[in-house]
Symmetry: none
Subunit: 229 residues, 2 copies
């Protein structure tokens, strides 16, 4: 199995290096980003398993970054690491979608323990190995572009598969339309926006067999992939 990937956003180079190296010693793959503006693109390229965010950054603060990340992925664990000790700051951290909040100075041991704890908590929900994702009565193998049900397998095209993966990763959560466009087509022009419509129609068609699944439109926002049981 490949290493667990951590996206680490920190502008302080000295601290950043220590933390990065300490995590790497524990066999994590760490990608450190110092500029908040770059986080989105790195996130999309890396597909990390967990994010560790410093709050106070020059351009874009950690809270804003967390909100951006949440639009791309509703479930990935986010830990804030910050010198801000006020309870209000902590509350804000959880409000914007954070899952833990660690005050500086912290011990590396504590960070590692908390990272592992969150990974464990969320691993159970992400149904473990990403080989195949459960979608209601379907099973989706993203790397094979295959949607299975009752033994029958349907091959998906590239765009279909990427789009379905985004939905599958964010079951029962709101997904930002722009984020979807960016991830599938790389930009959100008018034509690609129509294009997204086309592919949503196709996926609805494929998923129609299971009535407990529904791609709900949220006008002006995006979609909500409702999956019952």
């Amino acid at each position: 199995m490949s290493k667990t990937k951590i996206l680490y956003v920190e502008d302080e180079p000295f601290l950043g290096r220590i933390v990065k190296e300490s995590l790497e010693v524990r066999d994590f793959e760490v990608r450190m980003v110092t500029d908040g503006k770059l986080v989105q693109s790195v996130f999309e390229e890396l597909h990390p398993d967990i994010c560790v965010l410093d709050v106070m950054l020059p351009n874009k603060d950690g809270y804003a970054i967390a909100q951006d990340i949440r639009k791309l992925n509703a479930t990935i664990p986010i830990i804030f690491v910050t010198a801000k000790t006020q309870t209000e700051d902590l509350i804000k951290g959880f409000e914007v979608g954070g899952n833990d909040y660690l005050r500086k100075p912290f011990s590396m041991e504590e960070l590692i323990v908390r990272v592992n704890n969150l990974l464990q908590l969320t691993q159970k929900l992400s149904s473990g190995p990403k080989e195949s994702i459960a979608i209601g009565k379907f099973e989706f193998a993203p790397q094979r572009y295959e949607l299975r049900k009752d033994g029958k397998a349907k091959k998906l095209s590239h765009r279909e598969a990427v789009l379905l993966q985004i939905l599958a990763e964010n079951q029962n959560a709101n997904i930002d339309r722009k984020a979807m466009l960016m991830r599938v087509w790389g930009d959100d022009s008018f034509f690609n926006s129509r294009n997204l419509d086309v592919y949503i129609t196709k996926l609805r068609e494929y998923l129609r067999e299971d009535s407990s699944i529904e791609i709900i439109t949220i006008k002006g926002v995006g979609y909500h992939f409702a999956v019952g049981n």
Copy 2:
């Protein structure tokens, strides 16, 4: 919907009472246990949704209690609350199956935020039957944007659904108009205020089938969602 149940183990009566009451104010159902030996039986009787454990207790310490609980339930969230500030103590807390560790003195706000965070994290993983809220003779499935009655389902739009959820969460209580505007539209400008009127009208229309339900205007304040039975 029934309240979220917290099993709270604490031997210090003064602190215990404050914490218990603060949690109860937030609408949690709290069962406080002072003797570690009693935890198992209370746990089995109560079936709590989350456990908050003090570590230092006279007979049996919090770590041992956590291990007992883990034998009964592998996934229920456990938060330690303790005066022990050493990293080793924290590590031990996670080792025995804890999911968060809060050092005393802590703010109630922080405890509540962390409790809610864990509940949310584990709710997703247990993927349990996503709630549906009863509204008189209707049943409302917020995540499906669906309002059901006698088998018939009516699809709601995003705004309609969010608004109805606010009402449903506050049945038979006064709801502040401004708060509703902020939650649905994010601001309370004049136009959105007219907008709220429009959507209230729509919901009244949908809910007309059940005459025991009424959205009552409280001028200058907001609404009162009266639901009989």
